[in-house]
């Protein structure tokens, strides 16, 4: 059974500029032990999607419609008390900047115990034991000593491992990771990514890895979801999507990676900028920047699904069509 099933999720924000639809009918499934990457630019709605899964969308935002089923149980519309019981225990989240998410005034052990005691009543000794267990799992040396450390005494990579450890405390079925390595050094990034892969295998948790960086995600995730202006525009097995992208935006993302260009050659960019959510064109949101767009693209575009693959484009790139931005 799927760990998480999302169907037609719509999340909106009431702003001074009107109602903005940050998540516009997003659907996907997460399987246990599998790492799924959710890729998109800033403003694509990927972070809001993550928060929606945990029911943490702050006013003036709210989930308007759709369904989120965690282990078969519907989450949308449930009262806050019920959602709180599941947060951390069945579905956990890791944030981007560990220096901001850990309280500088409390010791690591204290913060971990708080997260543990939120869902279980345990003695101090049992709590410490469990904390040491997960700290070890994320690869922190001398975990017992680390319990008494303060956040500022640890390096960025260590802090993020602590954040991951906290997410693991209750053995959640789903872990949502929002840009967890963006604030870290490249070498540390690699370590964390490697550790994440091991953990997903060991614990069987489904991981949703949200990022704007296609390069890191592609090394880690087995499935890829590409998001643009609040909609999923392409999804599928990572290797397939990278080798054989169908949506021009995905193609553009792949091409903008520095590694795809020969040394000395100018880097490639997708022309134009991300659209403002208050001024979306009718139909395909990517049309204004797409070299293949025509009149038909002004009509709403459905997601074409073929088994495990899908794309939201009426002029998809095929194996025959090469680089559209040349």
């Amino acid at each position: 059974m799927a760990a998480l099933e999302v169907e037609n999720l719509v999340t909106e924000f009431d702003t001074a500029n009107g109602v903005l639809r940050a998540v516009d009918g997003v659907s996907f499934t997460l399987a246990p032990g599998q790492i799924t990457g959710l890729v998109g630019e800033s403003g694509s709605g990927k972070t809001v999607t993550g928060f929606s899964l945990l029911g943490l969308v702050d006013a003036p935002g709210r989930i308007v419609s759709g369904s989120i089923r965690l282990g078969g149980t519907e989450l949308v519309g449930r009262p806050e008390t019920e959602l709180r019981r599941r947060r951390g225990a069945e579905i956990a989240m890791i944030f981007q900047d560990p220096i901001a998410t850990l309280n500088p005034l409390l010791a690591i052990g204290a913060q971990m115990r708080m997260a543990l005691e939120a869902h279980r009543s345990v003695s101090r000794r049992e709590a410490n034991a469990r904390c040491i267990e997960v700290l070890d799992q994320v690869g922190i040396p001398e975990p017992r000593a680390r319990l008494g450390s303060y956040p500022h005494e640890l390096s960025g990579g260590m802090r993020q491992r602590v954040a991951i450890a906290i997410a693991l405390l209750h053995g959640p079925a789903v872990i949502v990771a929002d840009e967890p390595t963006t604030a870290l050094d490249v070498s540390i990034q690699a370590q964390i990514l490697h550790r994440m892969r091991m953990l997903a295998d060991e614990t069987g948790s489904a991981v949703l890895w949200i990022s704007h960086d296609l390069a890191t995600v592609s090394g880690l995730a087995s499935r890829l979801l590409v998001m643009y202006a609040g909609r999923i525009v392409e999804f599928g097995n990572t290797a397939e999507v990278l080798r054989d992208p169908r949506h021009p935006y995905t193609r553009g993302l792949i091409d903008s990676l520095p590694g795809t260009v020969a040394a000395g050659e100018p880097l490639r960019q997708i022309p134009g900028g991300a659209p403002s959510l208050s001024a979306l064109p009718p139909g395909c949101a990517f049309a204004p920047r797409c070299p293949h767009a025509d009149v038909d693209c002004a009509k709403p575009v459905e997601l074409h699904e073929r088994g495990e693959r899908g794309w939201r484009c009426i002029h998809p790139l095929g194996p025959e069509r090469s680089d559209p931005f040349a």
Binding site: L54, L56, R84, R85, R86, R87, G88, A89, A92, M93, F95, D97, A100, T101, L102, N103, P104, L105, L106, A107, M114, A115, A118, H119, Y150, H152, E153, A163, I166, A167
Partner: protein, 324 residues
């Protein structure tokens, strides 16, 4: 940690020495100290004799050194006006000021923080907006004016509370305090409220600003994502995180409150140290002025020291920096 404490103590001592010199020189150097003691029509001989008797003919630095030496004997000089030792003058009136200030500060802080946290937690509620409106008034309106209004309303128009003076006192540990008696409390209410209002408003604003900022931070989001109960979050994350800016201002404002006690004591005819200093300043009774300023400085230094030590207790990053 002990390095940090030592460092702070040393700084405090230096400040005291520097301030004592500045205060002494400042007060005695400007104008002619002897003018208030002798009537203007006195002869030159009497003038010269008085100057010599009071030691005012010596060079200023010598006067300062004598002053400092006397300090170690517990002698703060003699008031020009009352012809009494300054120390006993001040000590006699200190309890009155202390009970007024302590009562004000405690009530202002407790209620101010409580209301401020609420206003920051639910900023859009009607109650929160009302609290903020009241705080602007408490913050802007001069203390003496509020005192007047309080007297006008509660003493003159409603007749519920006395318009001034201190109530009945009771002897505790050899000192006369008025708060244990009912009559004493009746007399304490208005001046304490008057004095507390400014600090109360300030605490509300601080607590609200701090709460709003913290509640929007990633730390709180992360805690919520971990499924921690709101009450636990408020208790263990919020209160600790806002305590640092609050304690900083608390320390500063404590001094301000002590200073404003001067105004309140004048309006309510409260027989404390504040009234003494106003009278002394008006007639330029320099020994009293110097002693009062030095005691105030000492108090400040102690307050600042305590605040710094509290910081080190709360924030592990400061402990680490201090030990380096």
């Amino acid at each position: 940690m002990s390095g940090y404490v030592l460092q702070r103590l040393l700084q405090a001592a230096l400040v005291m020495v520097a301030m004592s010199a500045i205060v002494f020189v400042g007060v005695y150097a400007i104008g002619n100290p002897v003018d208030i003691v002798i009537p203007p029509e006195a002869t030159q001989d009497i003038r010269a004799a008085t100057i010599a008797r009071l030691g005012l003919d010596l060079p200023l630095w010598q006067q300062y050194l004598i002053f400092v030496r006397n300090l170690f004997d517990g002698d703060l000089g003699r008031s020009f006006i009352y012809n009494e030792p300054v120390l006993s003058l001040i000590a006699g009136r200190l309890p009155a000021t202390l009970e007024l200030v302590l009562l004000s500060v405690l009530s202002a802080t407790v209620f101010g923080i409580a209301l401020g946290v609420y206003a920051g937690y639910r900023p859009d509620s009607v109650l929160a907006k009302a609290i903020m409106a009241v705080s602007v008034l408490g913050f802007s309106v001069p203390t003496f004016w509020i005192g007047l209004i309080l007297i006008l309303t509660f003493a003159v128009n409603l007749g519920w509370l006395p318009a001034g003076g201190r109530g009945q006192t009771v002897d505790l540990l050899g000192v006369a305090w008025s708060f244990p008696t009912l009559d004493g409390l009746r007399h304490l209410v208005l001046p304490a409220v008057n004095l507390a209002l400014f600090k109360f408003a300030m605490m509300i604003r601080l607590a609200r600003a701090g709460t709003r900022e913290v509640m929007l931070s990633d730390t709180i989001k992360f805690a919520r994502a971990a499924g921690i109960r709101e009450s636990t979050i408020l208790r263990r994350h919020l209160l600790k995180l806002i305590s640092i800016p609050i304690i900083t201002v608390f320390g500063l404002e404590l001094g301000s409150t002590l200073a404003f006690a001067v105004v309140t004591e004048t309006i309510f005819s409260w027989p404390g140290v504040g009234k003494l200093i106003i009278d002394s300043i008006a007639v330029l009774d320099r020994p009293v002025m110097v002693a009062y300023l030095l005691l105030t400085t000492l108090l400040f230094v102690i307050i600042n020291l305590t605040v710094d030590l509290l910081f080190a207790l709360i924030d592990p990053r400061i402990r680490a920096r201090g030990a380096a």
